[in-house]
Amino acid sequence: MITTLAPARALAWIPRGLALGLLAFVIFGPLTNLGLWAVAEKWYFPHTLPLQYGFSFWERVFAPRSNAMASLATSVTIALLTVAACLAVSVPAGYALARLRLPWRGAILLAFLLPQAFPSVAVYINVARIFYTLGLNGTVAGVVLVHTVHGLVFSVWITAAAFAAVDRSLEEAARDMGAGPLRTFFGITLPLAAPGVMASSIFVFLESLDEFTGTYFVGVPDISTLPLLMFNAGMGGNFQIAAITALILLVPSVGFMLVIERFLKADVLAKVGH
C-alpha cells in the first residue's frame, strides 16, 4: 500500500524538516556554543572545537569565596526582595482592579506598562541621577526599587487576572456563611487566586534575576549581580566564566517556566489585561 503513494507525497516532509532544522539551529546553536565554552579549557581561532576540555573554570566559579557565589547571593536576595515589594503592591491593586468598579481602570492598567514603553537607558540614567541625591545609588534598596517598577507590570496584570478569574459567587457563599470581607479574602479569594499570584511572582523573580540595565546604572560598582558579573567576564574575554554564569542563570529560568506553565491556567490568561 505504501509503495503506491505518489512520490511527491513521499517527499513532502522535506521542506517541513528543513524548517524545523533551521529553527532548532537558531535555538540550540547559541546554547551549544554556550555549553562548549562552559567546558572548554583551551579554545582559540581558527579551531572549530575546543582544544582541551575540563572543569577547572567551574572550580573557580564555585569556589566558596569567588565573585560568582557572592553575586549569586546578591542576585537572589534582590530578586526575593523585589518579589516581596511587587506582591505588596500587586495583591491589593490586582484585587481592586478585578473587583471594584474603578474609574480609569484601563488607564491604571496601562500606567503599569509605561516603564517598559520608554527607552530603558534614558530612564535609568535619570533614575540614577535622582537616586544619587537620595543616597539610594549603589544600595540594594535602590536596585530592588528599580526592579520592582520593572516587574510591576507582570505582577499587577497577572494578579488582577487571577482575581478576576475567581467566581464571585464563591466569595458571596463565604459572606453568606458568615465570613467578613477580610476573612473571605484570606480564606477564599486569595487561596483560589494563589496559582496566578504565584506565576506572577515567578515572572518577577526571573525578570529581576536577569535584569541588567537598571542594575548597571543604579547598582555599579557597589552591587554586583550575576548578569553584571557575566557582562564583565564577557567583556574581559573570559568566555568560560561568562558561559558558566549564563548556565547558572538558565537553571531557574527553565525550571520556573515549567512551573508557570502548570500554574497559569487558560481562565487566568484569558483575563490578562481586561
Binding site: D167, S169, L170, E172, A173, A174, R175, D176, M177, G178, A179, G180, R183, I188, P191, L192
Partner: protein, 370 residues
C-alpha cells in the same frame, strides 16, 4: 425556623427599577417559591434578602430583626446557589463545615455535624472527596448541606436545580421538599420552572416587572389566577375574545362568528366547576383556557353547559398520552389536547367546560396580542 418580613421593597440598578414596592410575609416553616420569567426581579428579591443587593427603599426583617442595612455575614440566612458555589480548594467536609468553623465550633462538634449532614443528604463516604470530583447532583447536595449545617433562620434557594440533568432535577426537587418539611425550616425558592414551584412550594409568589402579580397556594393560583398575565404564565395561554355579561349566577356569552350564545355557571367561592370571571357587568372579555383542560368533538356536536368553538385542525402532534392539535378558529390557532386520533383538515369543535374558563376584562392592547 423564623419568619421573613419584606415591606414595600424597592431596588434599582443604575437608574432602572428592578423591584417596585414588593411586600411579602413568609411564615415560620413555610416554603415559598418566587416564580417569574427572567428579569422579573425574583433573583433580585432573593439577593436583597441575603444582603448582596443594596436596597433603595422599604424594609427587610428576619425573625423580627430589621436587617435592611446589615451586610450578608450579619444575616442568618443561608443561600444555595445556581452555580453550586462550592470552594474548589476544600473537601466536601470542609465545605460543609466552613460556616461552623466561622462560628467557632470545636473540631469534634463540627465533625459530628458534618457527618450528620452527609448522612441526611446521602453523601456518605464522600467527606474527604474534593468537590471538583463530584457530579452535579452531588455538588448541589453538598451546597445544601453547607447551608443547612449552620441551621439558618431562612434557607434561600437561587434556582438550585436549573443546572442539573432532568432526572436528577426531579429527584432533588422532592428531596429538598422532604428535607425542608422534616427540618421545619423556612425556605424561599427562586425558579422560572412553573412545575417546580407548584410541586415544592406551600405558597407561590408570581412576580412580573418588579411587582407581585399574585400570591397564593399552588391550587389557588392555578384555579383562580388574579390577572390575565398570571393565567397566561400558568399555562392558560389560549385566549379567545368574547362579548359577555355577568349575572348573579351565570356568565352569558353572546354569539360570535365561531361560536353560539351560551349561558355558563359561575365558579369561585366553593363552586369548583364554574367559570372564573374577574369582571362586573358586561363587556368584552379575554377568555383564557388551558390546552389540557378542554377537548375536541366532531363538528356540529354541541354539548350543553360548555362554550363550543368551531374550527379546523391545522396541526397534529403526539407528545405522549394524548394527541395535541393546532385548531384554527377564525384567524387564531389554539392548542388543544384530545384522546382521539384525528386528521389535519378535519372540521372540529373545541369544547370548553366552564371550569376551564378564566375571563378577564379585555383591554385594547390585550386584544391586539390575543
Amino acid at each position: 425556623m423564623s419568619e421573613l418580613h419584606v415591606e414595600n421593597l424597592t431596588v434599582a440598578y443604575g437608574g432602572s427599577r428592578v423591584l417596585n414596592g414588593v411586600s411579602l410575609h413568609v411564615r415560620p416553616g413555610e416554603f415559598v417559591a418566587l416564580l417569574g420569567s427572567s428579569g422579573c426581579g425574583k433573583t433580585t428579591l432573593l439577593r436583597a434578602v441575603s444582603g448582596f443587593v443594596p436596597v433603595d427603599g422599604g424594609r427587610i426583617a428576619i425573625a423580627g430583626r430589621d436587617v435592611t442595612k446589615a451586610p450578608p455575614e450579619r444575616r442568618d440566612t443561608a443561600m444555595v446557589f445556581q452555580s453550586y458555589a462550592l470552594w474548589p480548594h476544600m473537601t466536601t467536609a470542609q465545605n460543609i463545615g466552613y460556616g461552623l468553623k466561622l462560628r467557632r465550633w470545636t473540631r469534634p462538634r463540627i465533625a459530628e455535624r458534618v457527618a450528620e449532614m452527609l448522612r441526611l443528604l446521602k453523601l456518605d463516604g464522600l467527606a474527604d472527596r474534593n468537590v471538583t470530583q463530584l457530579s452535579g447532583g452531588q455538588r448541589q447536595r453538598v451546597a445544601l448541606g453547607r447551608a443547612l449545617a449552620i441551621d439558618p433562620d431562612i434557607l434561600l434557594l437561587d434556582e438550585p436545580l436549573s443546572n442539573l440533568d432532568a432526572r436528577i432535577r426531579l429527584e432533588l426537587r422532592h428531596e429538598i421538599r422532604a428535607l425542608q418539611q422534616r427540618l421545619g425550616i423556612t425556605a424561599v425558592h427562586v425558579t422560572h420552572d412553573r412545575e417546580e414551584a407548584m410541586v415544592m412550594a406551600d405558597r407561590i409568589v408570581i412576580l412580573n416587572a418588579g411587582v407581585i402579580a399574585q400570591i397564593g397556594t399552588p391550587e389557588e393560583i392555578y384555579r383562580r389566577p388574579a390577572s390575565a398575565f398570571v393565567a397566561s404564565f400558568l399555562g392558560a395561554d389560549n385566549v379567545v375574545p368574547l362579548q359577555a355579561t355577568r349575572t348573579e349566577r351565570t356568565l352569558e356569552i353572546a354569539a360570535g362568528p365561531d361560536h353560539d350564545a351560551v349561558s355558563l355557571p359561575l365558579g369561585g367561592d366553593g363552586a369548583q366547576d364554574g367559570a372564573q370571571v374577574e369582571m362586573p357587568g358586561s363587556g368584552p372579555v379575554a377568555a383564557h383556557f388551558r390546552t389540557e383542560s378542554v377537548r375536541l368533538a366532531s363538528a356540529g356536536h354541541t354539548p350543553p353547559d360548555a362554550l363550543v368553538l368551531r374550527g379546523r385542525i391545522t396541526q397534529a402532534a403526539y407528545p405522549g398520552g394524548r394527541w395535541r392539535y393546532g385548531v384554527a378558529v377564525g384567524g387564531t390557532v389554539f392548542l388543544v389536547d384530545d384522546d382521539d386520533r384525528r386528521t389535519v383538515g378535519d372540521a372540529v369543535a373545541i369544547v370548553i367546560p366552564p371550569s376551564a374558563l378564566h375571563c378577564f376584562p379585555l383591554r385594547r392592547e390585550a386584544a391586539g396580542t390575543a
